[in-house]
């Protein structure tokens, strides 16, 4: 614990101390200019990392937010007479608002469409800055005076310290944000948007908030940029800059504050690297060596594919050879960026800092922080009354896919506190029915009532919010998150702090509480010792149990288990039965889809049998097993001569 604090905080403090004292010892204005730019780009890249790293989306609008923030800050000084902090607040607000407005439609899209939307936005903002000449002076450029800070004029040195303070504040706020529910939600979104919605966390909301937050940092950086250069031109904020920013984030390392900082350093120094021939040759040769080394290493450990090893070597080789052939490297600036970026994206996807951080953690054996003791289960999952009133009612529910009638009119009632089995041959419509109930699909027709009230249709998120929680037949865990984080993400009723409080670091107490509660649920499924393990590294059985614990974290009235025993080894099936019994004792109503008839017989109070999208029988397990219709459906026989009395235990 102490070691962790020492290393991580220590490194931050040392870096800060060095950065803060350089201007006292070096009086070179050029160096000071570079440092100021470094702080500004640091803020900018931390903002970009929110979308590119954490949300995992290619964002091409960040340069535009820098520009918009810069113009907003400049104009609020010249037109409105704002002071330094006021102007910076305006630039942040512009980033936040425009970012939110753009995110609103754009984030409903995935991947390429999102990238296209952001690309259009940045082209549009360049157009506006160029053409709205009355306000921005268009292509001529806009001169800006640096405003005073609380009545004190800022010289270059003072302004640098202001930028550095801003960087520190952003750094701290970002750290608080990322270690809160927000940070978890960002990462979860990328792994499984479906599960994020199904846990009632709300994919869309978090995406929009994340994007708007990142953009507001872009705006803030823009404000500082404006007061640094005191002259703005629309063409400074175009696609070219955007590519350089992406280079910074990717090369530095995604999902890392240090990575963003390293990337910023690189961007600031790049022009110098290119203008000095010898330096450029050294760098490109080093790059080639690194590419060869990393590629060979990857091939030897079989962690990379041949292409991943060879392509960066070719790209860096082109850089070295090209460096000798061309006369002026600065003319080839873009090609050089492109080759470097290409090598990193293909060969070193974690970036330089991602690579280093992993190496250092292993070298110094830095342990993760300790966990609090688990909460009492009664607090986390209070016992619910099992009064056999209707919990869920389906009324003539239908869902068709083209010509296939997957669910063709199901009516059934699930009673409070019971375990209700849903069985039927493959393709009988069980999974579709559950997907309709939980909101993944909208029904073609029919009604779903939860405790007498109509359930929202076609929205996983809204259904989850009303108290219906589910697991998935094909696991939908957040693989990059730890087991504990998987449960914490879904935890309902713990996170109350608003975003500003989270940013200021006032959410630590509830974070501890959430950890304790999540541990209690992990204990319930027997995974308390696996809390820090990444979900993707758990055994298959443990992953299944983790999904159940996560679903319970939503504190559901109704829990839907979609084939929880599928693919489990025999001992694990017994563990599963125990877990379900324990959940049943807390009074949670359960719908259990299962193929193992022995599991169904042991657990279920009532069983509904589906076939061809219709209910063909309902009753206790024993009744259902003897129903000739059921036997026929299961064995698929039409010759009535030889109908066995009982269907087999396992179908």
């Amino acid at each position: 614990m102490l070691k962790r604090l020492l290393f991580i905080r220590g490194a931050e403090l040392i870096a800060l101390a060095i950065l803060a004292t350089i201007p006292l010892t070096v009086s070179n204005t050029y160096v000071l200019g570079l440092l100021t730019l470094l702080a500004i780009y640091g803020i900018l890249l931390i903002g970009l990392d929110v979308t590119v790293g954490y949300l995992g989306q290619v964002n091409l609008a960040h340069a535009a937010f820098l520009g918009l923030g810069a113009y907003a800050a400049g104009l609020s000084v010249s037109l409105l007479g704002f002071g330094m902090l006021g102007a910076l607040a305006v630039s942040m607000a512009i980033g936040l608002i425009l970012g939110g407005l753009l995110a609103f439609p754009a984030l409903r899209l995935e991947g390429p469409q999102f990238a296209l939307a952001t690309l259009s936005f940045s082209a549009l903002s360049t157009t506006v800055l160029n053409e709205w000449e009355g306000l921005t002076s268009g292509a001529q450029g806009l001169s800006i005076t640096r405003p005073e800070l609380f009545g004190f004029p800022l010289k270059a040195q003072g302004f640098y310290w202001l930028c550095l303070i801003m960087l520190v504040l952003v750094w701290l706020a970002m750290r608080n944000l990322l270690s809160s529910q927000w940070g978890r939600a960002f990462e979860a979104l990328r792994d499984s948007p479906i599960a994020t919605d199904a846990m009632g966390v709300g994919t869309y909301r978090h995406k929009v908030a994340g994007f708007a937050f990142g953009s507001s940092l872009g705006g803030l950086a823009g404000g500082l940029y404006a007061f640094n250069f005191q002259y703005l031109q629309p063409q400074s904020f175009t696609y070219d800059l955007m590519v350089i920013l992406l280079l910074g984030v990717v090369l530095g390392g995604r999902k890392s504050l240090w990575g963003a900082f390293f990337g910023a350093t690189l961007i600031v120094l790049l022009p110098n690297l290119l203008s000095n021939r010898l330096l450029f040759e050294i760098i490109s040769a080093l790059g080639l060596l690194l590419a060869i080394f990393a590629g060979a290493q990857g091939l030897k450990n079989k962690t990379t594919q041949p292409f991943q090893a060879i392509a960066p070597v070719i790209a860096m080789g082109m850089l070295v050879v090209g460096g000798y052939m061309v006369e002026n490297t600065e003319n080839w600036r873009k090609a050089i960026f492109a080759l470097m970026l290409f090598s990193v994206v293909v060969g070193l996807p974690d970036g330089v800092m991602g690579f280093t951080a992993r190496y250092l953690t292993r070298l110094f054996r830095i342990a993760p922080p300790d966990l609090p003791p688990a909460s009492a289960l009664d607090e986390v999952l209070p016992a619910q009354q099992a009064d056999s009133k209707p919990m869920l009612e389906l009324k003539d529910l239908k869902r068709y896919f083209g010509g296939v009638k997957a669910v063709d009119g199901i009516s059934m009632t699930v009673r409070t506190g019971q375990i209700h089995g849903l069985i039927g041959p493959n393709g009988s419509g069980k999974s579709t029915a559950v997907n309709v109930i939980s909101g993944l699909y909208a029904p073609t027709s029919g009604d779903i009532l939860l405790q007498g009230k109509s359930l929202p249709k076609g929205s996983l998120f809204k259904v989850a919010r009303t108290g219906v929680s589910r697991t998935f037949q094909n696991l939908q865990l957040f693989g990059e998150l730890s087991a504990l984080d998987n449960v914490m993400l879904a935890l309902k009723g713990v996170y109350r702090s608003s975003l500003p409080l989270v940013l200021l670091g006032f959410a630590r107490a509830e974070e501890k509480r959430a950890q304790a509660d999540a541990l209690a649920l992990l204990e319930l499924v027997g995974l308390q010792h696996m809390a820090r393990v990444h979900a993707r590294d758990l055994t298959y059985g443990s992953q299944r149990f983790l999904e159940i614990a996560r679903a319970l974290a939503c504190k559901p009235k109704l829990l839907i288990l979609d084939e929880p025993a599928a693919g489990l080894a025999h001992p694990d099936v017994n563990v599963l039965v125990e877990i379900i019994k324990r959940i049943h004792q807390r009074g949670v109503t359960i719908i259990l889809i299962e193929h193992h008839m022995d599991v169904v017989s042991t657990l279920c109070d009532v069983v509904t049998v589906l076939d061809g999208g219709l209910v063909i029988a309902e009753g206790t397990t024993e009744e259902v097993k003897r129903n000739p219709l059921v036997i026929k459906a299961y064995l698929g026989i039409a010759d009535d001569t030889e109908v066995p009395d009982v269907i087999p235990a396992v179908i």
Partner: protein, 292 residues
């Protein structure tokens, strides 16, 4: 008088819009097979145009230059697939977005240094004297652009519908795994789609160059509008791109007439963001079903 000017604007804008549609059609081709598109497609248009111009300068006759330029486009398309797309698709990541952007940047820089930063005229044997139709003047060159666009798209659509290879192409877009089981290699189909997409880009470059001249930045405005057309129509909309392309072309030429030429980019961009807000799958696109 005023209505004639508007008609003139609409017609010449619409002709331009057909070129956007052609490039957007190239996006659809690769999106169908691999759910990916080349963000550096504009550079493909530009590089092919430059290469074709060089062919002419080396004395290659005009009608031989066209297949040469198209072949160059195909090769570039295949290079993009190999270098930027294949690996990330296998990893099921969206790294191809970044990698194709990077490829575009490399192409841009190369063109700047090899062919220079200035715009150069692109000779054409097709006459450029305007003809009058009901007061609207159209040049044979413009007509040739429209015909060229429709010809290329028509031939590729015929290929998709009438040949078995084309049907295999559609099968891969419908269900990649099932297509593999039929012995259709998804990898080869994706290569084919990138090759065709490169061909389409080269065709767009050759068609548009005599009108706009050739330069490193010739495609940067063009490509933004092609993106708009592709997204507004829907990346799986087939001929929807033609309608949207014509509409957008006409709209922007009217915009630049009434608001000033600096604003001509705006309608496409606004349309794109609006279309995304209202119909994320495009006006002519189909909604997809989420699976678990």
């Amino acid at each position: 008088m005023n209505s004639t000017i508007i008609a003139q604007m609409v017609v010449s804008g619409a002709l331009m819009g057909l070129v956007y549609a052609l490039i957007a059609y190239g996006f659809q081709l690769t999106f169908a097979t691999s759910k990916s598109i080349n963000f550096g497609q504009g550079e493909l248009v530009m590089l092919s145009a430059f290469f074709s111009l060089s062919l002419l300068n080396w004395g290659v006759p005009y009608w031989l230059m066209i297949p040469g330029g198209l072949l160059f486009g195909v090769v570039l398309g295949l290079v993009v697939e190999r270098a930027c797309v294949r690996l990330t698709l296998e990893q099921k990541s969206e790294g191809w977005i970044l990698l194709t952007i990077i490829f575009g940047l490399l192409g841009f820089s190369a063109a700047e240094n090899i062919w220079g930063r200035d715009d150069r005229p692109f000779p054409t044997p097709i006459p450029t004297e305007a003809m009058q139709f009901f007061g609207v003047s159209i040049t044979p060159l413009e007509i040739s652009v429209a015909l060229g666009v429709l010809l290329v798209m028509g031939v590729i659509e015929l290929f998709k519908r009438k040949t078995l290879l084309g049907k295999a192409f559609e099968a891969v877009s419908a269900d990649r795994d099932a297509a593999e089981l039929m012995g259709i290699s998804a990898r080869h189909t994706i290569m084919l789609s990138y090759g065709l997409s490169g061909l389409v880009a080269a065709m767009a470059g050759i068609l548009i160059s005599p009108i706009t001249t050739v330069g490193p930045t010739m495609a940067s405005a063009l490509i933004l509008k092609a993106f708009s057309v592709a997204v507004v129509a829907g990346l799986d909309s087939g001929f929807g791109v033609v309608l949207v392309g014509i509409f957008l072309g006409a709209l922007e030429s009217l915009t630049s007439f009434y608001l000033g030429s600096g604003w001509r980019e705006a309608p496409g961009l606004i349309l794109l963001i609006m279309a995304l807000a209202v119909r994320p799958n495009g006006v002519f696109g189909k909604a997809s079903i989420r699976k678990v």
